[in-house]
C-alpha cells in the first residue's frame, strides 16, 4: 500500500507539471471535440491525432498523457452525437442512443447530457481508483512470467478476442492473424533475414505502425463517411435548458456503481472493451429493473447512466493489461501501446520499476483528466454540440488533410501517403464485410512480441515444444482460453433453449 501511495505521489508530481497539466487539458478538449464529430469514434480520433502528437517532440510520458487524454475525451464526446443525433461514434456508444436520444426528443437533452457526464465521471474515476490498486499487484505478479507464459497469455488474449468480439469468431481470428502477418513484414531482428518485402526498400523496416493505424482507421473511416453521406441530412436536437438534478443522480447511484464495476472488469479482459461493457450492463440493468424495466428504450435515465458509466470504466480497465502485461485490452489501447513502442518503451511488468514516471504519471493524469472532463463538459456541452452542425462535405476532407499531415510529418516519405490510401481501402472493405478492425491492430502490435516470446521459449527448451505447457501460469491461461470459448457458446445455447 505504501508503495502505491509513493508511486501515486510520484505520478502526481509528473502529472501536475505545468506542461503535462496543459497537455491533459488539451487532450481532453480535443478528444471530446473529435469524439463529438458525428460518426468518428474514439479509436478513429486517437488514430488521426496520434502522429501529430508523436511529431510534437514531447518526452514519452507527456505524449502518452496527451494521448490518454484524447482517448478519454473521445469516449466522453461520443455520447454527444449519440444523444443529439442518434448517431453513435462507435460500437461502444450504441447503447447510449437507446435511452439518450428519446430523452433528447422529449426536450430533455440537457438533462441527458449532464447526467451522462456525471455517470461517465463516476465510471471513469472508479476505474482509475481500481487501477491504482490492482495494476501494481498484477505487474508484480507478471514479472515472474517466463517467455512460455507470455505465449500462453497471448493465446488467451487472441482467443478471448475471437470469442467475444464481433459476430463471427473465425473472421475475428482471421483479422488478428492478418495483423500478425502484417507485423512480420520487414527485417527479422534476430537473424537479419528480410521477410516479405518483395525487394522494396520502403518495406525493409516493416510498415510503420502509424501508417497502419492511420490507414486502417482514419482513411477507412473517411471512405466510409463518403459512402454513408448519401443517407440524407441529420437533424441535431436542441439542448434546451434542462439539467441533471440531485434526485436523478441519487436515483441512478446503484446503477452507476454496478455498471462501473462490471464495465471495469470487462475492460480488463483482453480484447473486450466499451462495446461489450455497455451492452452487458444495459442488459443487466434492464433485467434488474424488473417490472419498470419496460421503460428502457423510451428515455429511462437508468438506461442512459448504465452504458455511460460502463464504457468509461472499461476505458480505464483496458489500460491495466496494457500497462502491466504489455497486452492491450482494446483496439484503442492497442494504439496507445503502439505509441509507447514508438518511443522505444515496452510496456509490461518492469515498466512500473524502470519507468515509474510513465506508468504512474499516466495513472495520475487520468485522475486529473476525469475531473477536467467533467468541468469541461458541463458548461461547454453547447459548444461541442455545435460541432454536430459542421456539414459532412467539409468534415470529411479534413480527415484526409489531418491524416496526411500526421503521416508525412512523422516519416517524411511520400510512399507512406500511398500506403495509407491502400490500407484505407483494405480497412473499408474489411468493415463492409463485417470483419472488425480492432483485432487487426492488436495483431500488428503484438506480432513481434508473440513471435519473440515463442522463439525465446523454444531456445530455452532447446526446441522442445513441451515447454509451452510446463508452468502453472501457462496451464491456467490455456484453461481460461478454452473456457472463454466454451462459456459463451454454452450460454448462447441455453438462451436458445429458453426461447424455445
Amino acid at each position: 500500500m505504501d508503495a502505491v501511495l509513493a508511486g501515486l505521489g510520484q505520478g502526481f508530481a509528473v502529472a501536475l507539471d505545468p506542461i503535462n497539466l496543459a497537455l491533459v487539458l488539451a487532450g481532453c478538449f480535443f478528444g471530446t471535440l473529435i469524439g463529438a464529430l458525428p460518426g468518428i469514434g474514439p479509436i478513429n480520433g486517437v488514430a488521426i491525432l496520434l502522429p501529430i502528437a508523436y511529431s510534437l517532440g514531447l518526452p514519452p510520458e507527456s505524449a502518452l498523457i496527451l494521448l490518454a487524454g484524447i482517448y478519454y475525451g473521445a469516449e466522453y464526446g461520443g455520447r454527444i452525437s449519440s444523444i443529439l443525433l442518434n448517431v453513435p461514434g462507435d460500437a461502444g456508444a450504441v447503447m447510449s442512443t437507446l435511452d439518450g436520444n428519446p430523452l433528447a426528443k422529449r426536450g430533455e437533452a440537457g438533462r441527458a447530457l449532464s447526467l451522462s457526464a456525471v455517470a461517465s465521471f463516476i465510471g471513469g474515476t472508479l476505474a482509475v481508483v481500481l487501477m491504482t490498486l490492482f495494476a501494481p499487484l498484477l505487474a508484480a505478479f507478471a514479472v515472474t512470467f517466463s517467455p512460455a507464459d507470455y505465449v500462453a497469455l497471448m493465446v488467451f488474449a487472441f482467443t478471448s478476442l475471437a470469442s467475444l468480439v464481433g459476430k463471427n469468431p473465425v473472421k475475428t481470428l482471421l483479422a488478428a492473424v492478418m495483423g500478425l502477418m502484417i507485423a512480420s513484414i520487414g527485417i527479422d531482428a534476430n537473424t537479419g533475414v528480410v521477410r516479405f518485402t518483395f525487394g522494396s526498400h520502403d518495406l525493409m523496416a516493416g510498415i510503420d505502425f502509424l501508417v497502419i493505424v492511420i490507414g486502417l482507421f482514419g482513411m477507412a473511416e473517411l471512405i466510409h463517411l463518403v459512402e454513408a453521406q448519401a443517407t440524407g441530412k441529420l437533424k441535431v436536437l436542441d439542448i434546451g435548458k434542462s439539467f441533471v438534478s440531485w434526485a436523478d443522480i441519487i436515483r441512478v447511484r446503484w446503477v452507476v456503481l454496478r455498471s462501473s464495476l462490471i464495465g471495469f472488469f470487462i475492460g480488463v479482459l483482453p480484447g473486450t472493451g466499451a462495446s461489450v461493457a455497455s451492452a452487458v450492463t444495459y442488459g443487466t440493468e434492464k433485467r434488474l429493473a424488473g417490472e419498470s424495466g419496460k421503460d428502457f428504450g423510451t428515455g429511462d435515465i437508468r438506461g442512459l447512466a448504465a452504458p455511460e458509466a460502463a464504457n468509461n470504466a472499461s476505458a480505464g480497465g483496458a489500460m491495466i493489461p496494457m500497462l502491466t502485461l504489455g497486452i492491450p485490452g482494446s483496439g484503442t489501447t492497442a494504439i496507445l501501446l503502439g505509441a509507447l513502442l514508438l518511443f522505444n518503451i515496452t510496456p509490461g511488468p518492469v515498466m512500473f520499476q524502470q519507468r515509474p514516471e510513465i506508468a504512474w504519471g499516466l495513472i495520475a493524469s487520468m485522475y486529473i483528466g476525469n475531473i477536467a472532463l467533467l468541468v469541461i463538459n458541463l458548461p461547454l456541452v453547447g459548444l461541442f454540440a455545435r460541432l454536430l452542425t459542421i456539414p459532412q462535405q467539409y468534415l470529411t476532407p479534413m480527415i484526409a488533410v489531418l491524416a496526411f499531415i500526421g503521416v508525412y510529418s512523422v516519416v517524411g516519405n511520400p510512399f507512406d501517403l500511398y500506403m495509407i490510401i491502400g490500407l484505407g481501402i483494405f480497412g473499408w472493405i474489411l468493415r463492409k464485410l463485417e470483419f472488425s478492425l480492432a483485432p487487426v491492430i492488436l495483431g500488428v502490435v503484438l506480432g513481434s512480441l508473440f513471435e519473440d516470446n515463442l522463439r525465446r521459449a523454444l531456445s530455452i527448451s532447446g526446441g522442445d515444444w513441451g515447454i509451452l505447457v510446463q508452468s502453472w501460469n501457462s496451464i491456467i491461461l490455456y484453461v481460461l482460453a478454452v473456457l472463454v470459448v466454451i462459456v459463451p457458446l454454452w450460454l448462447g445455447r441455453r438462451a436458445l433453449k429458453k426461447v424455445a
Binding site: I52, T191, I223, Q229, P397, I421, E434, E451
Partner: protein
C-alpha cells in the same frame, strides 16, 4: 458472395505468403531452434484454415454499394491519390487547397464555399502545422517564392 470473393483473394495472398515462408525464407546460419521462417509458417497455416472456413461458410451476402455511391467513392480515391502525388511536388498549401476544394465539391458543397474552404484549409493548416506546431510539411512551390 462478396465474402467468398474476399476469402478467395485472401487465400491467394495467404498462399503466396505461405509459399515464401515454406520455401524462400532461410537464415544463413542460426543457433536457435526457431528461425525466421517458423513463425510465418504457423501464421500461414492458421490463416489459410480461417480463410477456407469463410469460403465454406460465408455470412455477408453482398457488398451493397450503389452505383452512384460507388462512383463517389472512386472519385474520392482518385482525389486522394492525386493529393498524395502532388503533396511534395506542389507543396502543402496548393496541394491541400486543391484536394480540400475538389473533395468538398464532390461531397456537395457549392463552388465558392468549396474554393474558400480549400484555400482556407491549406493556409490555416500550414500556419498551424508548420509554423505553430513546427511539424515537417513540404513548402513546395510557395517555398521557392519566399
Amino acid at each position: 458472395m462478396a465474402d467468398r470473393i474476399f476469402a478467395a483473394l485472401g487465400l491467394l495472398a495467404i498462399l503466396v505468403y505461405g509459399w515464401i515462408a515454406f520455401t524462400a525464407l532461410k537464415a544463413p546460419f542460426q543457433y536457435d531452434p526457431l528461425g525466421p521462417e517458423s513463425w510465418p509458417r504457423i501464421l500461414s497455416v492458421v490463416a489459410a484454415l480461417c480463410a477456407l472456413y469463410v469460403l465454406w461458410k460465408p455470412d455477408v451476402g453482398n457488398f451493397r454499394l450503389q452505383t452512384a455511391t460507388g462512383i463517389k467513392v472512386a472519385v474520392m480515391l482518385v482525389l486522394l491519390v492525386a493529393y498524395a502525388f502532388l503533396f511534395e511536388r506542389l507543396g502543402f498549401i496548393p496541394a491541400t487547397a486543391l484536394f480540400a476544394g475538389f473533395a468538398s465539391l464532390l461531397l456537395g458543397a457549392r463552388l465558392l464555399p468549396a474554393a474558400l474552404f480549400g484555400i482556407g484549409t491549406g493556409v490555416i493548416g500550414y500556419l498551424v502545422g508548420a509554423m505553430l506546431l513546427e511539424l515537417n510539411l513540404p513548402a513546395g512551390l510557395l517555398g521557392k517564392l519566399f
